[in-house]
């Protein structure tokens, strides 16, 4: 029953979930969900570029997403537009430009649905390799900058005053975000990757009282979502990427029951 492609899908999903767990916590803590969305939208441009130039998709998405992040930082410095307007501008224009470029590439057949919502069942051995090398690398770097990043998330000036390096940590974190989007774009697609970042972490927030616990629960939540989502997509013949996100939503709703109970206990 467990075909080979299904094992590959499972391994890919688990590899992504382990990385989106901790990164997703920071996305919530630092209020970066729309930022993640913008990077993900720009990934479409990266994918088209990969097809035109015959690059590796993950590599090309990583480059474009990092570039968009850089442009965003520059725009924030040079214009008086609010942050969310700039994010919207970059998200939708890079998505549009990506689609326009696809229009020109009539010689290639694009699976637009696959790009938007992912095609985890088409994961190859190469993709697995990228996930299981890139993923742990992202986690390792995150561990190295954890102290600075976390302290500056709580209070920037405190971190700066006491000898940490918040600006560097923030820049590295941005690159890590581009990294996770690059390695997971094929699995969950560009419309759902932010969901994978936010929903398990949001679920974890409901049931944890310390940052470490939130990270661990977020990873567990992501892993459970992948398993639940993939098996149910096999069972009910539903699209796999959306099934994973729906499973994550299901876990989030369960975690709400926990909040209700603890509020009752307090009263």
């Amino acid at each position: 029953m467990l075909d080979d492609f299904f094992i590959r899908a499972l391994l890919a999903g688990l590899g992504v979930a382990i990385v989106t767990g901790p990164l997703g916590c920071f996305v919530i803590w630092r209020r970066l969900s729309y930022f993640g969305d913008t990077l993900a939208h720009s990934a479409l441009l990266g994918v088209t570029l990969a097809y035109t130039m015959e690059f590796n998709i993950a590599f090309s998405v990583f480059i474009i997403s990092s570039l968009i992040a850089l442009i965003l930082i520059q725009l924030q410095k040079r214009t008086n537009l609010p942050g969310d307007a700039l994010l919207g501008l970059l998200a939708h224009s890079s998505l549009a430009v990506g689609l326009v470029v696809i229009g020109f590439l009539t010689f290639i057949r694009f699976d637009i649905m696959g790009l938007l919502f992912g095609d985890i069942l088409a994961v190859t051995i190469d993709d697995l390799l990228i996930i299981w090398v890139g993923g742990p690398l992202i986690l390792l770097v995150l561990k190295l900058i954890w102290k600075s990043l976390f302290a500056s998330t709580v209070n920037y000036e405190l971190a700066e005053a006491e000898g940490l390096n918040p600006d560097r940590a923030k820049a590295i974190f941005t690159i890590l975000m581009a990294g996770i989007i690059a390695i997971s774009i094929k699995m969950v697609g560009l419309l759902l990757i932010t969901g994978m970042l936010i929903i398990p972490a949001a679920m974890a927030r409901n049931i944890s009282d310390s940052p470490q616990k939130m990270v661990v629960y977020s990873i567990i939540g992501g892993v459970l979502s992948v398993i639940l989502g993939l098996f149910s997509s096999l069972e009910f013949n539903t699209p796999s990427g959306p099934s994973i996100i729906a499973a994550a939503l299901f876990l989030f709703i369960l975690s709400l029951l926990n909040i209700k109970q603890s509020i009752k206990l307090k009263n």
């Binding site: 919530i28 000036e157 405190l158 700066e160 005053a161 616990k213």
Partner: protein
């Protein structure tokens, strides 16, 4: 000029501006080991800005800052912790440096909030949070302690106890302290050097020198200059953390 081994931070004609508006300018001061330097002045006179210049938070400044230590403890004037962060007092204590459990317990006991160790930061009252902030800053045994109104929101008796604690810490750790305070009584009694700011240094020196200074009188009023003597708190009992009252 001979270099003094005890100097921790030195500001020379330091100033900071946003666009063309000076927040503070021409500040010269130095903080030495075991000494308490206090900044006083009206609202908006550049006290917090001066502290941030000394800490190196502001990078594009006028003048010079020389910092000779990296072991810094900082209690900012304003800090708001987001509810999206599940953060207990215990986690907050190790925010910028990993500490042993004993060091955490010791610092929390000194500021009288050891019983709050496992509480969520969001559930603390203003005064309790202030005590936690102070505990966090001293727990890492810093060489330089920068306290921006460290006892705001702390109850009256607690305030006096905390100022005594600050004085004690400066003696025991032999650390230099830059203190920003509105409480002139305390400033005048526990401080080695006072800098009176009003966008620039309006006067500075020992508390007695400053109190006699005419510019100080103009800024704070005649009455303030009469606060020279140490504030004596006559209390025949102590309040424990649990709320019991003990006779002395």
């Amino acid at each position: 000029m001979s270099t003094n081994q005890n100097i921790l931070v030195k500001l020379k004609e330091a100033g900071f501006r946003i666009n063309d508006k000076w927040l503070v300018k021409g500040v010269t001061l130095q903080i030495e080991k075991g000494k308490i330097v206090t900044l006083i002045g009206p609202n908006g006179s550049g006290k917090s800005t001066t502290a941030k210049i000394a800490l190196g938070i502001y990078k594009k400044i006028d003048g010079e800052v020389e910092k000779y230590t990296n072991k810094v403890g900082y209690v900012p004037q304003k800090i708001s912790v987001d509810w999206t962060l599940p953060l207990r007092v215990n986690d907050f204590m190790t925010l910028t440096e990993n500490l042993k459990a004993e060091a955490i317990n010791e610092a929390l006991s000194l500021t009288g909030v050891i019983h709050l160790k496992d509480k969520n930061l969001g559930d603390l009252s203003g005064g309790e949070f202030q005590r936690v902030l102070l505990a966090r800053a001293i727990s890492k045994k810093p060489e330089l302690l920068v306290l921006d109104e460290p006892v705001q929101g702390v109850d009256f008796t607690g305030e006096i106890a905390l100022y005594e604690l600050i004085k004690k810490i400066s003696d025991e750790l032999n650390c230099g302290i830059l203190l920003i305070s509105h409480d002139l009584h305390t400033v005048m009694s526990a401080t080695d050097h006072v800098v009176c700011l009003n966008g620039h240094v309006c006067c500075s020196g020992t508390p007695i020198d400053v109190a006699k200074n005419n510019e100080y009188k103009a800024l704070f009023g005649e009455q303030a200059s009469q606060i020279l003597t140490r504030y004596e708190h006559r209390h025949d009992h102590i309040h424990t953390i649990e709320g019991e009252i003990k006779k002395n």
